[in-house]
Amino acid sequence: MSVIPNRIAMLGSSVAALGFFFLPIVALKPNRLAAGVPFNLLQLQGDYRYILLFALALVPFMVAFRKDVTTRGWLLVALGNLLLLLTLLLPAMAATHLLANATQYLGENAFVRNPRVLPTGGLALGLAGGYVTLFAGLRDLERSGVQAWIRAIGAWAGVAVIAVLLATGAFNVYSVMVEFHTNGAALQQKFVEHLMFVLVSLVVGFIVGVGLGLWASRDERVSNVILYAVGIIQTIPSLALFGVLLVPLARLGDAHFLPVALFFAVSAVLAIAVGLGYRALAGRLPSRLQTASLIVAALVAAVPLTLFTGVFVSFVYRAARIGFGGGAMSGLDNGILALVLAGLGLWVLRRWVFVRDGVVRSLVRWAYLLAYAATGVLFVVLMVRAAATDQFLGAVPSLSALTVRDLGVSGIGVAPALVALTLYSLLPLVRNTYAGLKNVDNAIIDSGRGMGMTPAQIFFQIELPLAFPVIMAGVRNAGVALVGIGTVATVIGAGGLGDFVIQGIVNTSIDLILLGALPAIALAMVLDALLRFAEGLLTSPGIRHAQNS
């Protein structure tokens, strides 16, 4: 087998080297707003180290031609990590010098107050090049069959070192870090907000989306309607979607809870009736009418479903925020959480730990039960605690006075953001669930049926595990997309990391934009990595490779 050169590594190498050579790596700014003076890597005052960094960027290009894939992979991983680390670290060192002599570089007339060093294009390309090189190396390692967890170490080593350095203040000269130190508390709060609405809408989107995908995969005629509908949602620009939701949600918020609940119940019953009627008539209706009646049923069902989803999402978000928001977690919380995690861990590990011994087996079973119970208890505790605060329904005198707004629904703020984000998460979730289930080989399902599995057993023991990687890919797509789209939610006052971005745009402060954007990027990456990890653990080794691309 002839080994082709690693083209991706060549790309990474070129990107970094060209960036270092042609673009300024940092700019020295006299204060927050004024434009800065750019510096090239090779212009940096100092010593040979900066030239070495440039040289380092060229090395992956040569390594790319090595024939031994495993060695090449490890070299590239090491080089990629080194590039990431040094691209950040060396200019930071130089920056100390720049800052000390700020007046000298900026000239006499500059208004020097709180001078800072802005990372610029060269640094960005250096990081990009490093990342691409790292990725190229990981691909080689995967190809040569290095185990996933060893690869994961290679992938995250550099990031870990950077995180440690970040904590020790090695990068404090960078302007983003300066902003970070002035806005630290706010950032933490915004980050939590952001995380919350990504997670809440992802969870609700998952429930709804997987449900719809399942339905679509069962009924060919429904599938067209559903896939088309979620496809349409995706084409609406996010700002427009927020705008569209503004009025109905505001109206909904004004409404009293009881009539809304009644409406929900009535339309749900209606939808079920239409559905059953369709069932009864199916086959007897001419085919054109069949599709039409199905769409009617779907629409009738969509109204209460959307309503319910909107209210439910807002309510869960509010409850979770208030329930968790009470400051430090108590010992009880921690205990319960530990149980939940232990149960989860056991569940994940059960594939590897084949327990033959009867006693251990029943112990494990008890541990499961305990963990399930703990999950339930945690939920109840959260809800009760949320309900006990007077922020939450506390001010409402009676059930009949309860408005939907008291449950967290309003025209601006978090509710429309959550609804919009949930809607956006639907397409990848529905599409992947549908595709995953559709792709399960008929012969496999046929043998399951032939062996006497019930439809539920076939679904849970065969179809779901086989479609799982595809569904999880949809969850990852949705999650990463939500982190990004979530930054737009700031325009309707929902908060989140978008607040910094908007502020930064208004003030033409790149630092502030970055302060919002970098944590969002990090969040997206970590979320993706965590979901990938979970996917890897939960996917059977028997199908892991086939689905890996």
Partner: protein, 376 residues
């Protein structure tokens, strides 16, 4: 026992795939369904475990209408193996084979024991293969696991839809032989679908020939070959059906046991006497253990009147003899290839146990041919 009684299958689009099928699958026998593509073999089979509903008529499984069983319960007592194998790719070999036992709620230890036993049965080393995933197995190995899985909970009945269809001819023969060996031990009641007539003749205790959803002929392979009911069957079994029939007969059943033979130590006179006494042209030569060493004929004795060792034609028993377990067809082909009119029959050790003549085989074939012609 499985009894089809006037079974009709009409699909929702109005197509009648099975049209009044009546036949009985006997206990412990392999009944082969065969016929041209689209004749309704698969459809008939899938009605037995109710993967397809029956439009008219009924199917009795162990004397009971199969619609009286709850569908899942029925299927769990009927093994099911298909051409596409349909192993669950996300489960290990063990988990695949354990599916039905688990559905039936067996104890884990019993399941593991059963799985190992089945793997041994289908010729796979349990310790090597138990924890592999299907993608780590070759096609033939997957097919074996498929059979093992169908046997999982020791069902009395098996449905096999072209189980060896997607496999190269050599492996297929091996699997067929192995499966026949297994069947000897387990004696399941089996419906076996194929469209390969050679496979049908080899595997079937009885063969049902279907055409356009109807039964054309249902007989043992030998009867089917000897007396095809009509032109369709005759064409279907092929012009070489006499030859195929010989494939059903074992040399053991056809050979002559007292065949002229002499010891290596014997004199040429002894040999000559033996040949003349039997009024044949040659005699076989064996060593003190009775193992075939060659043959000697009148001509050889004339040219070397002094030494039997010089007069005889030496040959290894594997080269010049046929095993008593070989089919008559194999014996015939060996004789044609070697230009013999008579061939010695040996046992596993190579000891001479008898002989068989070209004429005997010819007579056998003629007899069938005539009978077959008369019947149609």
């Amino acid at each position: 026992m499985i009894e089809f009684q006037n079974v009709v299958k009409q699909f929702p689009d109005g197509f009648r795939a099975v049209n009044g099928l009546s036949l009985t699958v006997h206990d412990g026998e392999i009944t082969v369904f065969i016929g041209p593509s689209g004749c309704g073999k698969t459809t008939s089979m899938r009605m037995v475990n109710r993967l397809l509903s029956i439009t008219e008529g009924r199917i009795l499984v162990e004397g009971r209408d199969n619609r009286d069983y709850p569908a899942e319960e029925l299927r769990r007592k009927i093994g099911y193996a298909i051409q596409q194998i349909g192993l669950f790719p996300h489960m290990t070999v063990l988990q695949n084979i354990a599916v039905v036992p688990r559905l039936l709620g067996w104890e884990e230890d019993r399941i593991r024991k059963r799985v190992d036993e089945l793997l041994e049965l289908v010729g796979l080393d349990p310790d090597v293969n138990r924890d592999k995933y299907p993608r780590q197995l070759s096609g033939g190995q997957q097919q074996r696991v498929g059979v093992a899985r169908a046997l999982g909970a020791d069902p009395p009945i098996m449905l096999m839809d072209e189980p060896f269809g997607a496999i190269d001819p050599i492996t297929r023969e091996v699997l067929q032989d192995e499966f026949l060996e297994i069947q000897k031990r387990i004696s399941k009641t089996i419906i076996f679908v194929t469209h390969d007539i050679d496979e049908a003749i080899k595997m079937g205790d009885r063969i049902a020939i279907l055409k356009d959803g109807s039964l054309v002929q249902y007989d043992t392979p030998d009867t089917l070959l000897a007396k095809p009911k009509n032109r369709f069957v005759r064409d279907f079994v092929g012009a070489d059906r006499q030859l195929k029939r010989l494939g059903l007969l074992r040399v053991r059943e056809l050979m002559t046991r007292d065949t002229p033979n002499v010891s290596l130590r014997a004199s040429t006179d002894d040999a000559r006497r033996a040949i003349e006494a039997a009024a044949v042209k040659s005699a076989f030569v064996v060593d003190e253990d009775g193992v075939l060493k060659g043959w000697v004929d009148r001509e050889g004795l004339r040219e070397n009147p002094d030494s039997l060792l010089d007069a005889m034609n030496e040959g290894d028993f594997r080269e010049i003899g046929v095993r008593q377990s070989a089919t008559a067809r194999e014996a015939l082909s060996a004789m044609v290839a070697r230009g013999f009119r008579i061939t010695p029959v040996v046992d596993e050790r190579g000891a001479l146990v008898g002989s068989i003549t070209l004429r005997a085989l010819q007579e056998l074939a003629d007899q069938g041919w005539v009978e077959g012609e008369q019947a149609s």
